[in-house]
């Protein structure tokens, strides 16, 4: 074996980002000192991104099983959801925070496209994507510039691949001033019969690297390469000659090798000299020996390069060769998470800032006299107004499956061609809630995702996540992380939504001269649900004048962590909004029954901005006004702008009122009759808040005015 020129010491390891403990562990496990190449492999495989070493201990507490997980011939497919009709659905969320913060555009696009490769490497066709974005203060020029470049980057690449961006989130908060978040989610569909299960049996099977050609066609655009790779890959799966496939992602070829072979305790021999020097759009493909030609032919037809770079072995070793010399040889088991990679259970302690939160008392909040002025202020927050400036730069309808372009629902609905079903997709996380209380805040993120799917006519089936936090070595940050995971686990168990593979992004922080400030803890939940029948589709807009407006669920004198408290009172520390898991589960079950009975004209959950924003959104999209009364026993500001959870506003035809009331009373559901869909103005307690047309202008134009100054 080739030895490097200079001796390998703990200092070499440190330069590669490994700790002295980790270096010791490597030497001990190997029974020798690794060479330079081997140490580099460890530094990648034991990095946070590959090994999840600071998170895996807690991630393992999340529920992975459920009746929705696909099972075939006695085998479970942990990242596939059985959606019936012989189809399975898979989805994944991934962080691309760092490159986006440093150099957006090119990098952002690269990673957004990379997310689809995870999906089609499983043999699934990506049919929808979402983005969950967090930016700093919108008034800062830095934020405006970064919003423009990130959104353009996501659009430029995403739009060419033909996968619609059907929804997502964008929030603005000072905690992201120096460290934005860009999380992407891809959702795919696969014929359960076509599944490539990544079982690499049999040594001597050839290993190929597939990539776009260089040379005369190097100028062709990146999304074009990704698109052809997608189509060609789905085509070769049909040949039946593929036995393993893996995207080559951010950690390079070693990670992909290990992922393919570790499941079956096989080994792999790779000739480094045969790997083409291309940075993007790469896949590792293992073929059945003797059946390579079908795969080579297909890729050639799509003008993609497919080179054999090695073969599967039965040694359990990752071997790298160059110039007919073995330059590295490491047991696969030592490299991978759940195997030899370290697992750290970090110390945690309750952060000091939580004391400020406990001090909050709603009695100190006086109800403002001019409630219209408050409404205007809250409503024009960049966290409330329409994000159309962002999403209109994405192709949201390619594929002709997007069901909500005219009448939207709380979750994005995507029809599944060839069936009578649709997927309901949503991403959710209010990081101000998580900051106030990571456990409850994360339960709310799961609950709201589920609520959005229920309000759209679907049933939640599973979640993925992207967990964005500060430095895990900071016990106060780790406290946030641990409690977020506990909240997510409890909520997912209650909603019976298993957790599919996700991503973790630590070290999201701003560094100042004298201190380091972490971002708000942001565990983004990506949830997918299913509409068993597309006719169950329920939308959020008011439908006809005279329809009655009801709010289902309990009201509380609660303004905790609301947009109102931040924008009007300038209060940063307040408790998480009221949330009770039982209450939440009950209200969702009842809404589901009401939708099944065909009683509802619209359904829309109360979330950021409270009831006022909820009503305004249904009015603006529907093109109708409303006339409602508040309930005197509650503070008016809390009733209109409070964000207590588990409330859903519905509208019904007047002749169904008895049916609705009978149902609610017999099921013990708390409700408030608010009023009716009426005229073209917003009237609350007989006060005219102005025309819906005028509120619509604010809703649609504020974000573009703030970002572009026009």
């Amino acid at each position: 074996m080739q030895q490097s020129e200079s001796p390998i010491t703990v200092e070499t390891a440190k330069k590669l980002g490994l700790s002295s403990d980790e270096f010791e562990r490597i030497c001990e496990m190997l029974g020798r000192i690794p060479n330079n190449t081997e140490l580099s492999i460890f530094s990648v495989m034991w990095s946070e991104e590959c090994s999840f070493k600071n998170s895996i201990f807690w991630l393992k507490t999340l529920p992975r099983e459920g009746k929705s997980i696909l099972k075939r011939a006695g085998k479970e497919y942990p990242n596939l959801i059985d959606i019936g009709d012989g189809l399975a659905c898979t989805f994944l969320m991934e962080s691309q925070n760092y490159p986006s913060s440093i150099e957006p555009d090119q990098e952002t696009g690269t990673r957004v496209s990379g997310i689809h490769r995870n999906i089609f490497a499983m043999g699934a066709r990506p049919i929808a994507s979402m983005n969950s974005l967090r930016f700093g203060n919108i008034e800062s020029n830095h934020t405006k510039d970064i919003v423009k470049t990130v959104v353009k980057g996501i659009g430029d690449y995403g739009n060419g691949i033909g996968v619609p961006t059907v929804g997502g989130e964008a929030y603005f908060n000072n905690s992201y001033n120096q460290n934005i978040l860009v999380n992407a989610m891809s959702v795919g569909i696969v014929n359960a019969g076509d599944l490539d299960s990544n079982i690499v049996e049999g040594s001597e099977n050839p290993v190929f690297i597939v990539s776009a050609r260089t040379g005369e066609e190097a100028s062709c655009s990146y999304p074009f390469q990704e698109k052809t790779l997608l189509e060609a890959t789905l085509e070769i799966i049909k040949t039946g000659s593929v036995i393993g496939m893996q995207k080559i992602g951010k950690a390079g070829i070693t990670e992909s090798m290990c992922q393919i072979i570790s499941k079956n305790a096989m080994g792999m021999r790779i000739d480094l000299d045969k790997i083409p020097a291309i940075e993007v759009s790469r896949m590792l493909v293992v073929a059945k020996k003797g059946e390579e030609q079908a795969i080579l032919d297909t890729y050639a037809e799509w003008d993609l390069s497919c080179e054999q770079i090695g073969e599967v072995t039965d040694t359990g070793q990752c071997e790298f060769w160059s110039n007919d010399e073995k330059i590295a040889e490491l047991p696969v088991e030592m490299l991978v998470k759940g195997g030899g990679a370290p697992v750290y259970e970090r110390a945690f302690k309750k952060p000091r800032y939580t004391k400020n939160i406990s001090k909050f008392n709603i009695r100190q909040i006086s109800t403002p006299k001019d409630i219209i002025k408050v409404a205007k202020k809250v409503f024009s927050s960049p966290n409330i107004v329409s994000r159309r400036w962002i999403y209109e730069q994405y192709d949201s309808m390619v594929g002709t499956n997007s069901m909500g372009s005219v009448e939207p629902s709380d979750a994005a609905l995507v029809r599944i061609k060839g069936t009578n079903k649709a997927l309901a997709i949503t991403t959710d996380c209010n990081s101000a809630y998580v900051y106030a209380d990571p456990y409850v805040g994360t339960m709310i993120a799961v609950a709201e995702a589920s609520r959005n799917i229920i309000c759209s006519g679907g049933i939640p089936v599973a979640i993925t996540n992207c967990l964005n936090f500060g430095d895990p070595n900071d016990p106060e940050v780790y406290w946030q992380f641990v409690h977020a995971i506990k909240g997510m686990g409890d909520a997912c168990r209650k909603f019976r939504t298993p957790v599919l593979e996700g991503d973790v992004s630590f070290y999201n922080q701003s560094i100042f001269e004298d201190k380091t400030e972490s971002i708000y803890p942001t565990p983004v939940i990506g949830m997918v649900g299913i509409l068993e029948d597309v006719d169950l589709k329920t939308t959020l807009n008011f439908k006809s004048e005279g329809d009655l407006i009801y709010m289902l669920g309990n009201s509380y004198n609660d303004v905790g962590s609301s947009e109102y408290l931040r924008t009007w009172h300038g209060i940063q520390y307040s408790p998480v909004p009221h949330f009770d898991m039982h209450e939440e589960y009950e209200i969702q079950s009842r809404i589901k029954e009401l939708i099944n009975q065909g009683l509802l004209e619209s359904a829309h959950d109360v979330s950021e901005g409270g009831l006022f924003v909820n009503l305004m959104e249904s009015a603006i999209v529907g093109g109708f006004g409303f006339q409602v009364e508040t309930v005197e026993t509650f503070k008016k500001d809390a009733f209109l702008f409070g964000e207590s959870q588990s409330r859903i506003v519905v509208s019904i035809q007047p002749n169904r009122e008895d049916d609705l009331q009978n149902f609610l009373i017999s099921n013990n559901v708390s409700f408030t009759k608010l009023g009716e869909v009426f005229g073209n103005e917003a009237i609350i307690d007989e006060i005219n808040f102005g025309s819906i047309e005028e509120w619509k202008r604010v809703y649609e134009n504020t974000l573009s005015e703030k970002i572009e100054g026009k």
Partner: protein
């Protein structure tokens, strides 16, 4: 009437058109590969659809003399013989570059990609693709492009106006054609045109995305219905 949909390696929108014509409209549709050089199975009365192809065009060569996929010459011959050719979005851009339609499509005024539903006013129903559309009806059909700002010389536009070659203009929800309703800075709110012989059509809006009730958007279907009705009348007239 038989349809031929031209597909490119990167085709997304072409496959959407294929889906609508075949599955929704129940028509006979032939998939054509962009490397094909002849169209032996097509005759006057049939219709070819181009809906994407920009990435391939860029990819095939930046040389001035080879800007097109091989099939484009066959499409040009087919159009010159009187066959129907419909270019949607990127397809409209290609037909302009191939000289089958006047003018060109520039980058949107905002310099940004725009995807949204827009309102359209039908300017003439003296064409196969608009024959069944009530001119008073305001259509709602989506756009999705970064390069959809129509431009042509004033004399060309005046001539198109006189000849009723302007098919659609962007308007507001009440049917008023104004600057506020112009999504991309296009000349005179032009959203779609045809050639002088009225057999080649170019549209920036994407009717295939608005042809199914399940998507909550069906106005695009009126264009395909018009085309099929006209074809039937022509067949009957022999």
């Amino acid at each position: 009437m038989k349809f031929g949909v031209v597909l490119f390696p990167e085709s997304n929108c072409g496959r959407d058109v294929l889906h609508v014509l075949r599955t929704v409209m129940k028509q006979e549709v032939v998939e054509l590969w962009h490397k094909d050089t002849a169209l032996p199975d097509f005759s006057v009365g049939d219709c070819l659809v181009l809906s994407d192809g920009f990435a391939s065009r860029d990819n095939i060569g930046s040389e001035e003399n080879t800007p097109f996929s091989p099939i484009i010459n066959a499409v040009i011959d087919f159009a010159n013989n009187g066959g129907y050719v419909l270019g949607i979005c990127n397809g409209f851009q290609l037909l302009c570059e191939a000289g089958l339609l006047p003018g060109k499509l520039l980058k949107n005024e905002s310099q940004k990609f725009i995807c949204k539903n827009v309102h359209l006013k039908t300017m003439t129903n003296h064409t196969a693709i608009t024959s069944q559309i009530d001119p008073d009806l305001v259509l709602k059909i989506p756009i999705a492009h970064e390069q959809g700002r129509y431009h042509a010389e004033e004399t060309v536009v005046n001539e198109m106006d006189t000849n009723e070659q302007i098919l659609f203009k962007y308007c507001d929800e009440h049917g008023v054609i104004n600057t506020a309703a112009n999504p991309n800075g296009t000349l005179a709110n032009i959203a779609g045109i045809c050639n002088k012989n009225r057999n080649v059509f170019g549209l920036m809006p994407k009717p295939e995305r608005a042809s199914e009730a399940i998507l909550g958007n069906t106005d695009g279907r009126l264009l395909f219905d018009s085309l099929l009705t006209t074809a039937k009348v022509e067949m009957a007239a022999g």
